[in-house]
């Protein structure tokens, strides 16, 4: 069980209660050697927190990978109301996982598997980032996580897992699709394909706006497996990276078949987003661009499960993926259709109206 906040020193940023390091691995090595208990907070573009009990990792929180709340709810294993109830009952004591098990909503096996998955996935993001992206680091002794210590992984074992995953990803090009919006290819260019379940889910939800990392969160899958399969699908030509507008054409993995409206005419590199990508431009303007920045700014909110629907919101509009259980539809983006408003109705077709009226009269 995690140490309770009762024993933790109160938040006194920067004083003798906290220690600082430049890199995550360095800090973890030292904390493991001292069998420390508490939270290691990582700042930077790939930020997050690593929670330790007696020198072993029992939870990792990072916006770069889905946490247990996302894995459980987006997969439909635990419904949002049940999760919320357990969270209310157990968060203060750092026992949410245990509460879910005791309530029968989750088996101990599932809870352990889910914990292990979240730890490895989050640790991969934090420990493989460069120290420029993940750091500096500070340790808050005694601080615990609401989920609780259901499964502990030693830092050495975690390291083996991470190295293995890294090798797998390095062997699976292309490396530059992980945080790029992807879209399903329009045509296969072959007679048939065989897909795994995850590959299918990725293709179905690749809407030209979400990146593989976003898709992991939407589907409740680990970022690692979503990214790995997305790379395989790009190589197989089943999904494509949506070219971002703007002067960064070097890393595109686009195909000329992707968008019919795009031609290969040269553009001035400094030209800001002309409508080069047809309908995709409008879509992407809403959320696609925010992906890298959001990972940096959204960190260290309180670790509340924030994915529930806000009852105060107006009815959401239907959008791809909104039907998945446990996935909160985002409210309609005002900028989807550019200047066009819902009130901009085209002129009615008088011929059609006349024919409809005549047909209705004929029914009498």
């Amino acid at each position: 069980m995690p140490a309770q906040p009762i024993t933790a020193p109160p938040e006194r940023p920067g004083d003798q209660g906290t220690r600082r390091w430049a890199a995550v691995t360095e800090a973890l090595d030292e904390l493991t050697a001292h069998r420390a208990t508490g939270a290691l907070h990582v700042e930077g573009a790939v930020g997050g927190s690593i929670y330790l009990v007696e020198g072993e990792v029992y939870y990792v929180h990072t916006p770069a990978a889905p946490g247990v709340d996302c894995l459980l709810q987006a997969s439909g294993t635990v419904t949002p109301p049940v999760f919320q109830t357990a969270w209310t009952a157990g968060a203060a004591a750092g026992q949410v996982g245990e509460v879910l098990i005791k309530s029968g909503a989750l088996s101990r096996g599932e809870a352990e598997l889910c914990t292990a998955a979240a730890i490895t996935d989050g640790a991969y993001a934090l420990l493989t980032a460069s120290s420029a992206e993940a750091g500096p680091v500070r340790f808050a002794a005694g601080e615990g996580h609401w989920w609780g210590a259901l499964r502990r992984i030693g830092v050495a074992a975690l390291d083996v897992q991470i190295r293995k995953r890294r090798r797998l990803l390095e062997r699976t090009p292309p490396a530059d699709v992980d945080d790029q919006p992807v879209v399903a290819a329009g045509r296969l260019g072959r007679h048939h394909v065989v897909l795994t379940d995850l590959q299918w889910e990725l293709i179905v939800h690749a809407d030209g706006r979400r990146t593989p990392r976003d898709l992991a969160r939407l589907l409740g899958r680990s970022a690692f497996s979503a990214i790995l399969e997305a790379r395989r699908l790009v190589t197989a030509g089943l999904i494509q990276v949506v070219p971002r507008s703007g002067p960064e054409p070097a890393t595109r993995v686009t195909s000329e078949a992707a968008v019919g409206t795009r031609t290969t005419t040269e553009q001035e590199p400094d030209e800001p987003a002309e409508p080069t990508d047809g309908w995709r431009t409008g879509l992407r303007a809403g959320t696609g661009r925010s992906a890298p920045g959001a990972r940096g700014t959204a960190r260290r909110k309180p670790d509340l499960p924030t994915r529930r629907a806000d009852p105060a919101l107006p009815l959401p509009r239907r959008q791809p993926g909104a039907a998945l259980r446990g996935v909160v539809p985002v409210p309609a983006r005002a900028d989807v259709s550019g200047e066009a408003s819902v009130l901009d109705v085209p002129e009615p077709d008088h011929n059609l109206l006349t024919r409809v009226r005549n047909a209705l009269e004929g029914l009498r």
């Binding site: 096996g109 599932e110 083996v160 065989v194 795994t196 497996s225």
Partner: protein, 125 residues
Amino acid sequence: MPGIDESLRHAMSIPGVLGAGLVDYASGLAVGSAGDWPCGDEPAAAGATEVARAALENATFAVSAAGDVLEDIVVASAARYHLLRFLNAKLDNRLFLYLWLDREHANLAIARHRLAGLASDLVLG
């Protein structure tokens, strides 16, 4: 409702069993293991993962009635049985239980039955 380690301890009580493990076939790594393994648990997990993926990604085994899923894979050698049982959690379920048995002392039907029970206890409770 057993956890991972307890499930593997139960697996070790199946007659004829030499080793048991829970393998993540997304990464090819053992999440947990018990008993002896043919060539160490990490190489065994990697090897079993290749067999599992080959079956999962093969059209011959994929084309089937809706709702049908691969349950297990049996590989038999003259002296050993290798039994792979896929876990069907709603979670990101890329896991299988791996059992390695001595044919002299094992009964394949019993081992399959016990392993199926362990797999469903692990993810359903």
